[in-house]
Subunit: 260 residues, 2 copies
Amino acid sequence: MKIVNILESTQPIKSDIRNAYIDFSKMTLSLVAVVTDVIRDGRPVIGYGFNSNGRYGQGGLIRDRFLPRLLDADPATLLDDSGENLDPHKIWAQMMINEKPGGHGERSVAVGTIDMAVWDAVAKIAGKPLYQLLAERYGNGQANRRVFVYAAGGYYYPGKGLEGLQREMSSYLERGYSVVKMKIGGASLSEDCGRIESVLNILGPGQQLAVDANGRFDLATAVDYGRALAQYPLFWYEEAGDPLDYELQARLGEVYPGDG
Amino acid sequence: MKIVNILESTQPIKSDIRNAYIDFSKMTLSLVAVVTDVIRDGRPVIGYGFNSNGRYGQGGLIRDRFLPRLLDADPATLLDDSGENLDPHKIWAQMMINEKPGGHGERSVAVGTIDMAVWDAVAKIAGKPLYQLLAERYGNGQANRRVFVYAAGGYYYPGKGLEGLQREMSSYLERGYSVVKMKIGGASLSEDCGRIESVLNILGPGQQLAVDANGRFDLATAVDYGRALAQYPLFWYEEAGDPLDYELQARLGEVYPGDG
């Protein structure tokens, strides 16, 4: 068996939302299809992957570097020991040939999106759900069929008042989510506290709220927010500062040791 | 005045060399030209930039995100207070709009290459060398006309013996370089020691050798190399381990406190 083609398409996922750092008016993502010559139910198996919003589609990197490395490789070197399925680890190593260490920005999006498509193909070729295949390979074979999920929303957008925020969050709760998350840091602290209170007011028993600053704050603002947010029963307070500002992260860890 | 166009061209810089981590057979770089409507000597001022080898050209990112942000911006917002030249800081900020924090890999190459071209245009519009312009803006106005440089080479390539390495290094010394750098970590430690000694043997008074492992080593290997290299009067020992392996970096700093 072999990969016969890999396709990438960069698509707009434009919306009017914004978080504390960026707006999404020009946002894109990459869709990747890994086409194999394996036939299941009379059709070739194709694995699909896509990347999350926020770091844009990576069609340039994928087409310039990562697809050629896979399509130029001897197909046999990308297979598992049985020779009847792809080996995602060998494929990952082949993609990362001639990549310098460090600088895991766009590249991790490009490689990760292809990796997702490869795992999808592997599960389809194996004829079982990917969660079951992963449980068998890396767990005790018993897949946990329940997984914690939450609804991430509460973005800022033009004309959205507190009622609009409450309507949005209610729609998640009505769909069965027990935890909802909203953006903070794109407004003043007092305005954000008003937004948080408006959502806390509509939560029922067993329902909780998390907040996400998307890395916007300097240390002083992060601490000010932390002090103000301590009055609320929040599920978590996410990404207060720049993820690469290690001094901020270390000092925030001293102020708020947390339980992790 | 304004930027009238920005052009990017990704070009191969293929060579047979390799360092400890990657080979350069498919290496590319980006050339960027920032075209302005300012006329000097009867011709439009164009600033040029290019990126270093190792992280590939970034035409995809440049065309998808950074050029459109500059070309779509109100040109007046990219000028300095005089309105007669570009402001590289405003241009940088405009490029980074709607970019998430963290993940400074390919993006820093894309933005930095454009930034280089912008500074080139700024100096040409100002009618003085960039080093003089920088000394006036950020120093005491007196540019230091002497700067330390070294010749980085000593790559591994097929059929290159110790004589080939010596010939290469001699060619740098003959051109006036007083410090030369060679790659290590792409061969065994004993073979690398032989390569190092062969270069040390051809150095004259005031000439020195630095070595670069390009992030290849794990901690144990980095320390083994450090112990072996301590016998030689090296100028420096560069990038022993993965730059994002903070534990390795911290422990290496304990073993070799250095003078920095």
